[in-house]
Point group: D2
Chain length 261, copies 4
């Protein structure tokens, strides 16, 4: 079911968040505590923004816990906005192309969850991807398809794009009786702003926490230490961490958002 | 552009055809002679039939020349019908799921060639795959999509299924002006019978040879030695090597086949 | 700390012992029950005897649980004597050359355990390997070094060779104060006969069980099902399963063996 | 036989030297021009210095030409001193631990060449490694052993340490009749200074070139473009590129160096 961490803030070496904490993502790869899969050993990935316009990616199919390259990179890469992800596959192949994060242009996306009965809905979800973006579908996961569908739904307005796609996916799974389960806990970024979604249909949402300080914000599937103050993101809400602003949480869907404002 | 070998005949250790010949497939992985890509180092695969109803597969993304597992397996696996393939990727990811051969039920398929402008035609080709077989699309290559389209076109009549799919693909590439190039040199088997196709549209076909003896038949992208008598399969023809029969060659398309009979 | 299984008996598909049982080795790779390491995801290996004079090997650094090649091979490979091993590394690199089993000539060896403070004793253990066998040291594990030392100590008499090497290793670890821990639970075979060792110095030995029937004998780190009758091998004993004979258990060291006879 | 590139100068993205040039190291991985092995597809590696006291490493067993991680890292990693290497193995295993560069403390080393009859001399070369450094021997190559021997011979004086070890190795190979061939073209760095050695015994040395400008110095197995002015390093000489100084070339052995000064 995967575990992940996203960071936005002062430029820092990735190791301070990915490898060093007492319950770091690497530790979670071999023993997660709040996940249905305690072992997340089906590959991993890093995505980060630097001086180049597009983000960097390092993805590998080996377990994170034994990858010496990962330790070197986390020590040497510095970034103001980065993602890290350890994977527990739910049916699709163990390939680099199926490891998170996914990159498209300046955008990064990663995901924890699943779309129940993926083989039934796969074609419909893939049909949400516009032709122009279909060449970017280099893997076969539900996660990548959802990302590319969001890209095609007007990613410049990330909340609206996400709401559009999640509504469509919710419709799909509700067409079965009983409805298929759908859980999505995802992070999205464009190099400046960071969005984290917690959503579920016909099921409980996966856990999602964040901790904010003067230095920046960390968003995680489960807390990486006991030192920081971890706040749970409510179900069906999105955490918005724009550059230069305090993070805020809003309901995922427009009508709820309007009511909340 | 890939190189491959297919064998049907007396049960034999794979090594006699895959690793031992002077210009074996392993040698071709590092220096092919009749291919546009002299190096076929983007993964490889074995597919073979044994006592189990479904074929076995061994696919790996490393170059064939340095894989010690491959040498052990070729020495120890014995089969009356097997495929081996070394890959030179033409754009899709280097993953096991994109390595040949592909298996579906009792069928094996492998391919050398390409469908020009794959990103333009990919969705149309994938649309040829029936819903029931779409879960078998675990990779992203044109080759696997063509195979599954053939499966869906009535694979029990392999020549008709192949003709149907190749006609559809030819229509696609001819919709561009000038027509996109399309080359397919492929092997297909069901555990008893072996079919090898040599076809091209808007281009010359890739080379395809076979050698038949009392012991069986070997079909290759390029000759693996100078000892045997290698016969070229004509363009736009299919080699049919049914169990218990001498091999024969017929034109790929029905109207030609009728004329030939 | 690794988990393994060894089989000698009627020729059978490996899957019946490696992948199919309720608590199969593949299941143990992701959740072992009697091991200090519950996850054995640092590579795996198969070794088997067939028609060729030397055994076959398939070793891979990915976790066993996600390797589709392994499932195909276990279904298609048939053998009268085979080993399978899942690894939890204890410090040495995750490479195929460090995965078990190890082969040398007609011999196979695999191991579960460790030689405490390996870096202190490594050179001394490597010095036990004769010059003629040193080219066979293609990895860096303690396990491979112990195997090659046994090969050099007169492997034609496997019990004597093992006793010689284990005595030397015991001397090494006892030179520190307090003595370093040393645990070895290992299997050794030559294509006909199978030997399984359970030994420890300054520590408790790892678990070792076997189950014998008309069809053959299975030796395991921990039981693979609840159907068979599993018997524990006593500490500091060796299980001898020669072709055509009932298995017997003898003390590891000569003076004990004499007393036992 | 490997190809490599080393850079010292203004901080720059690795891509300008590793992936972008017309005959870049990546191009050389698939078609080297001045090497006995035109294909260098047996793994690769990057080593670089950044803000951390110790260098970073990224090593992988796949061919460099198909590794998408490598392209991302070369775009995003910036360094004032870095190494890149593509490997053509000469007998030792294809493992990350056998890929260059090798790191030990603040030092980096990489190598192109071979020590003829390695299996005959291996133990003697390994015996040159001091006990304290033997735990750093995580692979099995001649290259790593030579590096660790140099580390043990007083690496703070790199020229003297190299001369000591190369003299010892030369003695070894000359003990056979006819003498075994020994070729070494190697780079060594400590984060500030860069040394490049070109040496051979009983054979011609591999090629080694450099190009120096205001911005820094590039040292290569073979020229990466036609734009720069490439100067060959003479056989049995060492190129010294200390921080803040113009590069200079001196004979490898002391008596020659004295004569040259």
């Amino acid at each position: 079911m995967c575990r992940w961490i996203a960071y936005r803030g002062e430029t820092t070496a990735l190791e301070h968040y990915v490898t060093e904490p007492s319950h770091s993502l690497i530790a979670q790869s071999i023993q997660a505590l709040e996940s249905t899969a305690s072992i997340n050993g089906d590959g991993f990935g890093l995505g980060w923004y630097g001086q180049h316009a597009e983000p960097g990616l390092y993805r590998e199919i080996r377990p994170a816990w034994s990858d010496e390259n990962l330790r070197y990179l986390c020590r040497h890469l510095q970034s103001h906005l980065f993602f890290a992800h350890v994977r527990a596959a739910t049916g699709t192949a163990i390939t680099r192309a199926n490891c998170h994060p996914f990159a498209c242009g300046q955008w990064l996306f990663m995901h924890n969850g699943f779309l129940g009965n993926w083989n039934r809905w796969r074609r419909r979800v893939e049909a949400l991807i516009p032709d122009a973006l279909y060449p970017s579908r280099i893997g076969t996961t539900d996660s990548e398809a959802i990302f590319l569908a969001m890209m095609g739904a007007g990613i410049e307005q990330p909340l609206a794009a996400a709401a559009t796609v999640l509504a469509a996916l919710s419709d799909f799974v509700n067409q079965s009786d009983p409805g298929d389960r759908f859980r999505l806990t995802a992070a999205l970024a464009n190099g400046r702003d960071l969005y984290a979604f917690r959503y579920a249909v016909n099921d409980r949402a996966n856990t999602l926490y964040y901790s904010e300080s003067e230095r920046g914000i960390v968003v995680v599937s489960e807390p990486i230490d006991r030192d920081k103050n971890w706040v749970a993101v409510p179900e069906n809400h999105v955490l918005i961490a724009c550059a230069g602003e305090r993070a805020r949480i809003v309901p995922l869907f427009e009508r709820h958002r309007e009511a909340a404002e």
